[in-house]
């Protein structure tokens, strides 16, 4: 019996999950930086400014994936029906807060530029929804009970860590790309990211191990580790998403500073961001429906 | 539903008959505003009882298939051959018929005409084909499948033993069925859909099935036991079982053997019957009176079937005694285990189970009639018969039914379709009751071939291009025409005419007769002019047709007799007799025109319509049981349309108020079956042979005849023996160890031979099925060869011919064998959906004298192969 992976949710949804996570992560980075204040103001702005557009663009990918996009607006009309609906509310709220945050921070409004307190209140509110956004992308997959590879608490955790990490990397990327030398803040972010990447590695190992219990998730793990998804996993996720950034960030923080450091930081971030996208795609394309059972037989559902 | 469409003007169901395969189930077809939108079973008919298969429903897509042939075309590329592009050019019907008629008129010798017809449209070939042959004066024809897979051996043998085309268990009472290479009730023909219901009911009731098959076929997957067997060895296994039954268990239905077979007939040491010098009747031994008597003498008190008796100084044995000793001496279990790969213990156990389930001696009352109850049966078909041992394999399997008396009695093996009919209550037709020959053996009343299975044909200097008339029991010979030796045969046997015109009705013989290249180069290309009635431009038309005529498909035409003769499609059981017709559900689309109409028109244009009408008058009594009433006979000087003929046939067979107009309303006529018809064996005073004495003379005569032409070598004459023997196929004697697998072919239930693969609904099913478009190999065997799922391999036969395809490693396959589904792997340009899907098994077959059953001239369809990976996938 050959179990086949689902094929309905692929790159468009991966891009959505990735951008939603990244947006949330960047925003949180921005808000935390805002609390740190001082030298961190640039970082803070970059983070907050990234939040809304990334999530919004992500939503466009989601809409592009819909079969009947004209009914998109219905997604949030019945909040307690489902996780998609709940997620829609979460993301919409996050985007609204994010827009307000950006909007009132910039010209011509400037309203939040000096009203630090109000800004931080909004920031906390936004952070709550950003975190929910980051976690929700994992919960969304987990609602699919017949796909064991997805319906585990590991997925939200994995997506959360990855969202924070990619969020930070996105901020690092913009900060470094603006030219000039590597700032201490970026180095600090890189150190933070190193920790996150290490965490992500642990979560990933744990995830791939924990899912080995039922035949379909064994098949998923096999597909990801040695099957047709393996190249994307090993090259995209492991090498580009984890190993390259962590090595470069180590070099950056402990070895190289200045303009070379900035270049390395850019490289690390681009690589890591790509890895983050791959991670979503890998998780999606490892989604295998449970076989149906009758007597001694196991029936592999045809591709959904 | 339909009410929602406010503008609907018409929404009707039309009752007719499916033509998706030869089961011919009753269907009803829904037409909305002139468009056929659904096909369902007709609940009113016993031929399916309202259920139809995937192929039947999918015929909707064949009606409207946009690749159908819609206009007459002619070939503009003079080159012919496999894979050649004929470069069709559209022509008018007038031009097409003018061309055909002038070709006929300019023939050197009308005998050089050849008719090829398809088995799929089985009820369409009963009129135009024989009528035109008689009227134009030629004898050459081939109904595809015949001789290769389903014809010569099985029908011949069932005709002798059951007066029928085939055998099927009486599922309403059967408790134990042994399948030898057939799928009855699980897909293939033989009242497919009614059988499927009955066998499912029987299984639910606890009926056990044991399936001998090289792979875990559909029927094996549903059976309580699958016995993997080496192809072509079924007869040997049956003989070994017979050995166990006769010599170990020692239980048989003596009453049946004494009265209904030639078991008591006394055999002289020279193998012939001991006959009564006065009456020339075979003698039996009456142990009570202690003397020999003619087999039907009224004074007989009992029959000896064992022992030795001296008659007029000659020691004689009842034939049963000889059979018993023969299987003991020649078919010991260990020997058969080596031949068949079936463990001796399994053979023994199944023989025991079979006899136990037969309940010999038990009776049952049906409709107030006391009948023997024998709820065990051994059945067979294409799988066991497509071998060098074709005829004998079938006979040997049926001997199992004979020794337990399970023959056309409740629970046993039944002649299929029901061979005995007393006719419609109003007309007494069709009437088909077998009768005894002077030796007491059964002669069938109606038969669809022009020669009955018994008495055997007198071998005559051949007149047919395939030399058929020289052999006592063959129907078609592929081995003569498909070889490069054909011309030599024609010369040696002094055939004084040559092939000129081929009429092809459907038959895709390039794919269904033998290896495509052989059929095309050695046979089909020898015709000067080939025209084909077809619904597709298939491999045949593209290879050799000069003109193709767009035929109607079965949903666009009239047919008077669909379920009769009952050969393939009439369910066998105490339901009802059903006479189904076929009628158009839409007017023929485009320029399609019905085959029967056109053949009639050609006959008229050739001025032979008088003979054509006469031929129809003559053939109806033979095929549809009973003389025609004078008022419905066709007047040779008259002028009839095809519909007139249909109408007359119906009125003649069913009564004056049951003409075409009347039957169009329901599509069928039903009447009650009688116990004497369905369970006829003890109601008809006939015997059947368990000892084939008459083979001796026939063989001798045929041999002498061949010798007189200097070609005694043409066949192996040892096949003409009175006692059942098993003869190996060349594949069983292959010495080269490289060729380590036997290849065989099987039918999926959702395809019909080579004709349904272009149907997009069925193709959709097939593409998603894990078995049909792939080559199945046993998983361990495959792994040993370094193969894994999806690897593309070559399968090559000992003469270097090969086919290519992806493998599927399975557990449900004998380790020494390799299975290929159906007749797929198309290459015709005219059927793009089917192109390149699946494999074309027949390309591996070798067709020559060595690969032919010397008894029935059936071709061998198994072959030894080697398998290796194709480079670069």
């Amino acid at each position: 019996m050959e179990l086949k992976a689902q094929s309905k949710w692929r790159w468009l949804i991966a891009a959505y999950l990735f951008l939603a996570g990244l947006g949330g992560g960047a925003y949180v980075t921005g808000v935390v930086a805002d609390f740190l204040g001082g030298e961190w103001v640039q970082i803070s702005k970059i983070g907050v400014f990234l939040g809304f557009p990334c999530v919004a663009v992500g939503c466009l990918f989601l809409i592009a994936d819909l079969g009947t996009p004209k009914n998109f607006w219905r997604a949030g009309m019945r909040p307690n029906t489902s996780w998609v609906a709940r997620g829609t509310i979460i993301i919409t709220t996050f985007m609204i807060v994010g827009v307000i945050h950006i909007g009132f921070w910039i010209w011509p409004f400037h309203a939040l530029e000096d009203a630090v307190g109000a800004r931080q209140v909004i920031g906390v509110l936004g952070t709550i929804f950003a975190v929910l956004t980051m976690i929700y992308t994992g919960i969304l997959l987990g609602a699919n009970r017949p796909i064991a590879f997805w319906s585990t608490a590991m997925v939200p955790l994995l997506f959360f860590v990855s969202a924070l990490s990619t969020g930070i990397m996105a901020v690092m990327l913009i900060a470094s790309a603006r030219g000039g030398a590597l700032t201490g803040q970026v180095e600090a972010l890189a150190r933070m990211d190193i920790l996150l990447i290490i965490m992500e590695m642990f979560v990933l190992v744990f995830y791939l191990q924990a899912t080995h219990r039922v035949p379909e998730s064994r098949a998923s793990a096999k597909l990801v580790l040695t099957g047709s998804v393996a190249p994307l996993f090993w090259v995209g996720v492991v090498i580009l998403g984890l190993i390259v950034p962590i090595i470069l960030e180590l070099i950056g923080t402990f070895g190289m500073h200045g303009e070379g450091g900035a270049a390395i930081s850019i490289l690390a971030s681009v690589s890591g961001l790509f890895g983050g996208l791959c991670l979503r795609e890998v998780v999606l394309s490892g989604g295998i429906l449970a076989p149906l059972r009758a007597g001694r037989f196991e029936f592999a559902l045809p591709m959904v | 539903m339909s009410a929602q469409r406010s503008n609907v003007k018409e929404d009707v169901w039309i009752h007719t008959s499916c033509g998706g395969c030869y089961a011919q189930c009753g269907i009803r077809v829904r037409r909305v505003d002139g468009v056929v939108v659904d096909i369902e079973g007709n609940p009113e008919t016993p031929a399916g009882s309202g259920r139809i298969c995937a192929k039947g429903t999918a015929q909707l897509m064949t009606l409207y298939d946009r690749h159908r042939v819609n206009y007459p075309v002619k070939r503009t590329n003079p080159e012919k051959g496999v894979g050649v592009d004929p470069k069709w050019e559209r022509i008018t019907w007038d031009e097409a018929i003018d061309t055909i008629v002038s070709k006929f008129k300019n023939m050197k010798d009308p005998r050089g005409t050849y008719f090829q017809a398809t088995t799929v449209q089985t009820s369409e070939i009963r009129f135009a084909v024989p009528a035109f042959m008689k009227a134009w004066g030629f004898k050459n024809y081939w109904v595809s499948g015949g001789g290769l897979w389903c014809g010569n051996g099985a029908h011949f043998m069932n005709g002798i033993m059951h007066a029928a085309w085939s055998i099927i268990p009486d599922w309403t009472h059967n408790n134990y069925t042994i399948y030898f290479g057939c799928s009855k009730g699980h897909g293939a023909g033989h009242a497919a859909l009614q059988s499927a219901q009955w066998v499912a009911d029987a299984r639910a009731r606890g009926m056990k099935a044991v399936v001998f098959d090289p792979f875990l076929s559909t029927q094996a997957s549903k059976a309580h036991e699958w016995v993997p067997i080496r192809v072509g060895t079924d007869g040997a296994v049956a003989l070994a079982m017979l050995n166990v039954i006769l010599n170990e268990i020692g239980k048989w239905d003596a009453h049946y053997l004494k009265l209904k077979t030639n078991a008591p007939y006394l055999i002289k040491p020279d193998q012939y019957y001991m006959r009564d010098p006065e009456t020339n009747k075979p003698l039996i031994w009456d142990p009570e009176d202690g003397k020999a008597k003619p087999f039907d003498h009224p004074s007989i008190k009992d029959y000896a079937i064992e022992g030795t008796y001296e008659v007029n100084g000659t020691p004689c044995h009842p034939s049963f005694q000889l059979l018993k000793e023969h299987v003991k001496g020649n078919y010991p279990l260990d020997k058969v285990e080596k031949i068949s790969s079936v463990p001796a213990t399994t053979i023994r156990r199944i023989a025991h189970e079979f006899v136990e389930h037969a309940q010999i001696g038990s009776t049952i009352a049906i409709n107030g009639k006391e009948l023997p109850l024998r709820p065990a049966a051994a059945i067979f078909f294409r799988g066991s018969q497509g071998h060098v041992n074709s005829g004998w394999n079938c006979l040997e399997i049926d001997l199992l039914n004979q020794v337990i008396g399970a023959s056309d009695v409740p629970g046993g093996a039944m002649g299929h379709g029901p061979p005995v009919s007393h006719g419609h209550p109003d007309t007494g037709k069709p009437e088909t009751i077998p009768y005894p020959c002077p030796d007491g053996l059964m002669v069938v009343k109606g038969w669809v071939y022009d020669h009955k299975p018994y008495p055997l044909r007198e071998p005559k200097p051949p007149t047919r291009l395939d030399l058929q008339d020289m052999f006592p029991c063959s129907v078609y010979n592929a081995f003569t025409i498909c070889t490069p030796e054909w011309e030599q045969y024609l010369k040696d046997f002094k055939i004084d005419y040559r092939p000129e015109i081929m009429i092809n009705f459907g038959s895709n013989s390039v794919m269904t007769m033998a290896n495509a290249e052989d059929v095309t180069e050695n046979f089909l290309k020898k015709f000067d002019f080939v025209f084909s009635f077809n619904i597709f431009h298939n491999e045949f038309t593209e290879a050799v047709a000069d003109v193709v005529l767009p035929d109607c498909c079965f949903l666009e035409r009239y047919t008077p007799c669909v379920t009769f003769p009952s050969t393939f499609c009439h369910p066998t059981g105490m339901d009802h007799w059903v006479w189904q017709i076929r009628q158009p559900v839409v007017q023929p689309l485009y320029e399609r025109r019905d085959f029967n109409e056109i053949m009639l028109e050609i006959a008229k244009r050739l001025g032979i319509h008088d003979k054509y009408y006469k031929a129809i008058n003559d053939l109806i009594p033979v095929r549809y049981g009973g003389e025609m009433s004078p008022e419905y006979k066709l007047d040779p000087s008259g002028d009839y349309s095809w519909q007139d003929i249909v109408d007359r046939v119906l009125k003649d067979r069913l009564g004056p108020d049951k003409g075409l107009e009347a039957l169009k309303k329901t599509g069928l006529e039903k009447w009650a079956t009688k116990v004497e018809e369905m369970y006829w064996r003890w109601f008809v005073p006939v015997r059947v042979p368990i000892y084939f004495e008459y083979f001796l003379d026939s063989g001798k005569k045929a041999r002498e005849l061949c010798a007189s032409f200097g070609r005694e070598d043409i066949q192996d004459w040892s096949f003409y023996t009175p006692l059942a023997e098993w003869f190996p196929c060349p594949s069983h004697e292959e010495k080269n160890p490289e060729f380590d697998l036997w290849a065989f072919s099987w039918r999926p239930s959702f395809h019909t031979q080579s004709s349904t693969q272009n149907n997009p609904w069925l193709d959709e099913v097939s593409v998603n099925d894990p078995f049909v478009y792939l080559i199945q190999i046993n998983a361990d065997t495959g792994k040993k060869k370094g193969l894994s799922d999806g690897d593309v391999v070559y399968v090559e036969n000992p003469i270097g011919r090969k086919i290519k395809g992806p493998v599927k490693l399975v557990e449900g396959m004998h380790p020494e064998q390799l299975g290929i589904a159906g007749c797929h792997g198309h290459w015709a340009r005219g059927t793009p959906i089917s192109k390149g899907k699946g494999q074309f098994f027949d390309d591996l077959i070798i067709t020559d004298a060595k690969h032919t059953d010397s008894l029935t001239q059936g071709s061998d369809a198994c072959v030894k192969v080697k398998v290796y990976k194709a480079n670069g996938r």
């Binding site: 019996m1 689902q6 309905k8 994936d65 079969g67 009947t68 004209k70 009914n71 219905r74 997604a75 009309m77 019945r78 489902s82 996780w83 998609v84 699919n144 009970r145 989604g287 429906l289 449970a290 149906l292 009758a294 007597g295 001694r296 037989f297 029936f299 559902l301 045809p302 959904v304 | 539903m1 468009v35 056929v36 939108v37 659904d38 369902e40 079973g41 259920r51 298969c53 995937a54 039947g56 429903t57 897509m61 409207y64 298939d65 946009r66 690749h67 497919a192 499927a196 066998v199 499912a200 639910a204 559909t218 993997p228 959702f750 997009p760 609904w761 078995f771 557990e811 449900g812 959906i833």
Partner: protein
């Protein structure tokens, strides 16, 4: 109110795909949509290997996961237990297709002709089928088996039940303990597929052997 249910007897089913094709014809489904999908499987090692077909329909679950995940309210369940998709509400997010444990939901993007290599427009049947499909279903949205409610309302059986050559499929009322299906389930140890998903299907299977 009856709770409509199905019984599929795996012992009787011989895997002929007739139900799959009958459903296609009865519901005029486009290429790629098979609501009565048949899934074959093999188990065991030679020579004790076995093969069996699993014919599927929408299980009309009492607790349908498809409805649980549907954000738009397009998926609803009627009083007979039949789960429907409202073509006007569905946004085609495919969440239900992932969440249904029985592969009962499918969607297509467009009407692709079955005869792509042929010249000219759709044949009369395909043109009719397309119109019918668009009337009741559509493109991009989730579609599924509804136990042939149109036929059932006319007093007929579902198409796949009517045609099954092995009489392996039964349709009826689960709430009526006297119905043929209730009796079969009880007498022949009917079971639901993969109960671990907690969906409580209305389709029961009878054991394969």
């Amino acid at each position: 109110m009856p709770r409509y249910g199905f019984v599929i007897d795996l012992k009787r089913c011989y895997g002929c795909y007739s139900c799959q094709v009958a459903c296609k014809a009865a519901n005029h489904t486009p290429q790629g949509i098979d609501w009565a999908r048949c899934v074959p499987a093999e188990t065991g090692k030679f020579p004790s290997s076995l093969r069996q077909m699993l014919p599927l329909v929408c299980q009309q679950c009492a607790n349908p996961t498809c409805m649980e995940v549907c954000p738009t309210g397009a998926t609803t369940q009627d009083e007979n237990g039949i789960v429907h998709v409202d073509k006007n509400l569905c946004m085609g997010c495919k969440a239900c297709m992932m969440a249904c444990p029985y592969g009962a939901r499918q969607s297509v993007e467009d009407w692709k002709t079955y005869f792509p290599d042929a010249e000219g427009g759709l044949d009369p049947y395909e043109a009719y089928a397309k119109e019918k499909w668009e009337e009741k279903n559509g493109y991009g949205m989730a579609t599924k088996c509804d136990y042939c409610m149109d036929r059932v309302k006319e007093g007929r059986q579902p198409a796949c039940v009517d045609t099954c050559p092995a009489k392996a499929r039964y349709f009826g009322d689960l709430d009526d303990p006297e119905s043929e299906i209730s009796i079969l389930i009880k007498r022949e140890h009917g079971f639901q597929l993969n109960p671990e998903f907690g969906t409580d299907p209305s389709c029961y299977y009878l054991p394969p052997r």
